[in-house]
Symmetry: C2
DNA sequence: CGTTACCTTGAATCTCCTCAATACACGTGG
DNA sequence: CCACGTGTATTGAGGAGATTCAAGGTAACG
């Protein structure tokens, strides 16, 4: 419930609306497909707990990971705006979802302009994340790409309190990282070993440790672009 | 004025609002920067005439072209939602812009839920275009990437009536294409020559001719994802 | 204790990049 | 009208980075 509100305070009527907007909860197994590209679902979700993956599958068998979905993330907005989903979403762990009705979204736009604004904001933030990924995949080498995507995930998880002792427990595999940054699994592995060798991070089965955050940022050749949301007045 | 409405019919009150929402027109020279990354503008625009480029510049001098802006496109929504632009926008030709006030956007959300919905829709469509670009840059080779980006531009321009006799007059350079698809200028050129040699397209100074659309689609290894907007009820 | 998913490493190959040089088109000023 | 500068396109050569193929190794799980 608080998931959506991670970036601002709700007003009481908004909270009421969101509360009755909620249709229930759904729990899916690890590995299950939450949305299939091309499908048309009557629901949208917010992720309450667990990890998920947004991706596009090609006929060749190749996969482009678009982003990771974390608690608080809205999933399936596209199936509201378009007549079908344009990417798939898969659970990486057992996942708990909050279910909303697609129908009642019209009401949201008519009665709660603040929440409508938030939806535009969410869509636009997703866009800017993809823009950043695209910039890395298009313009940087494997080492910088992997350093970046690890930074990106760590940073988001840090804000959610999922990072303890600079350690993040995550179901992400090297295959996932490679598919996100347009690298083969072999090159991903070799580059990840190089990255570990610098002492910036440690890669473990089921976890990532950041040993030297400054070095990681440097290796990612990261140019900070801090943004603040502009609140709805 | 009709630019924004390219995808649906406006209701009379919405039309009224948009009409008085407009603050005037702005004309900029070819090469001028419309938005600079990191800046904070009190205006947003729609492109009425001409070509523009959305891109991110890196300190290293490399550039990632995110997308091309065409007549009807909204420019600068990010400066409303965030406290700054996260990419730059540059005019490729002399450009005519319709200027709107950022302030009055709140009004739009409060009084015209249909238009608010449209803004979310626009943001989400931009996201899905970036997802498709990312998929190409991440998963396909130079030939498919270039075939794709040319298809993409031609398709959008076709809908705007800018393509006559399968020919598009465009200010896009090989450098632009390369920066969009993450390829060096040299490799872009060589691959473009190969693409021309197949007979699929013809590359001219200031123009692209599609000689064999089916072949171009095949070379792009394109998997069609037709979408319809879901109208606001 | 065997199966499965994930990680690791070496070798050969190829795509794509950088460097370098040249050609072509267009506009400007002498 | 021609010389010149500038932005764009073209081509060759050499090399770095990434891919594919192939073969193991390791941890988790029933």
């Amino acid at each position: 419930m608080r998931a959506l509100s991670s970036f601002r305070e709700f007003k009481p009527p908004e909270l009421d609306f969101v509360q009755q907007f909620k249709m229930g909860e759904l729990v899916v197994d690890a590995g299950a497909t939450i949305f299939l590209e091309g499908s048309d679902s009557p629901h949208i979700y917010t992720l309450l707990e667990g990890w998920a993956l947004r991706y596009r599958m090609l006929e060749s068998g190749r996969r482009q990971v678009l982003n990771f979905a974390l608690p608080g993330d809205l999933i399936g907005l596209q199936s509201v705006l378009f007549d079908k989903m344009l990417h798939s979403v898969q659970a990486l762990t057992p996942v708990r979802l909050c279910v909303f009705s697609r129908q009642r979204l019209w009401e949201l736009y008519e009665r709660h302009s603040g929440l409508a604004y938030d939806l535009t904001w969410i869509a636009s933030r997703e866009e800017s994340i993809l823009a950043e990924h695209l910039t890395y995949v298009g313009q940087r080498n494997a080492l910088a790409r992997l350093a970046y995507i690890i930074m990106h995930v760590m940073e988001r998880c840090r804000k959610l309190g999922l990072v303890v002792n600079d350690t993040l427990a995550t179901p992400i595999t090297q295959q996932d990282l490679g598919d996100a940054m347009g690298l083969s699994i072999v090159h991903t592995n070799k580059t990840l070993r190089r990255l570990t060798a610098t002492g910036a991070i440690e890669w473990r089965r089921g976890g990532i440790v950041v040993r030297n955050a400054a070095e990681l940022t440097r290796l990612a050749d990261y140019e900070k672009r801090e943004t603040q949301p502009r609140p709805f007045i």
